[in-house]
Symmetry: C2
Subunit: 120 residues, 2 copies
DNA sequence: TTGTCATTTCGTCGTTTGACGAAATAACAA
DNA sequence: TTGTTATTTCGTCAAACGACGAAATGACAA
């Protein structure tokens, strides 16, 4: 029950759900996720930590950046089903598409440039 | 997105999740649900209204009681999948079994007696 | 080592949430 | 009608949440 509630609480904030949807196409560094939202880096970091604590995302560190991604098939069943449910329910919404478009532009920009742009 | 968030917010409280699990075996009146928890009737009523607003439960009025139940197959896909996910994830936990046992005793008692017992 | 920079942690602040009891409502019983 | 009773609504309060900026951390670059 505790693990399940960690998932539902993580999903109860729309910005965290948007992060999960943004990660569908592949891993992103914190800089890129921050660029996608109009929030302070510390706010994004907190959201990522809540998602991570619920095991809805995994992280790895490389060079000077931290990358987050959706878990593989090794993830607990409850996690995989939660992610499937999120994607199935929201993949086609306008908001998700808008984020995907904005993300495309971000991915076309050099990482270092994106980070410096937001003074993080 | 708004509808989806109504569901995730409804699921983000453990007592509301317990209510959904308790309804698996069939409809229950507010009195019976209140008897299952150690909360004031007004608290349970609020929880039920949140679940109802998210369309996770349906209600009907009969005689002097209001009954709540899980929705049929007519429910939106997002709702059905959310309920499936909840049940699959938690049906076998100790907490759910304990609630089911307590519920069995409640169902063996006359409705009028249960209600008067809690001064609702 | 020292400085730079991406990220996280911490403390604060305003808002939301979940609990309660009291009062309102709505339906049945007398 | 009047009273009773099941449920909901409302106002209040403490705790949790989501935002922020400032400071801490940790890794690379000079």
């Amino acid at each position: 029950m505790r693990e399940f509630m960690a998932i539902t609480k993580a999903l109860s904030d729309p910005n965290r759900v948007r992060i999960l949807l943004a990660l569908r196409r592949g891993e992103l560094c914190v800089c890129q996720i921050t660029a996608l939202f109009d929030f302070a880096p510390s706010t994004i970091s907190k959201h990522l930590s809540i998602l991570h604590h619920a095991r809805l995302i995994l992280s790895r560190k490389s060079e000077r950046w931290v990358y987050y991604r959706l878990p593989e098939k090794t993830a607990p069943v409850a996690v995989r089903e939660a992610l499937d449910w999120v994607h199935k329910s929201l993949a086609k919404t306008d908001e998700t598409k808008a984020d995907a478009n904005k993300l495309k532009k971000i991915l076309n920009t050099d990482l270092a440039v994106i980070c410096r742009r937001q003074k993080c």
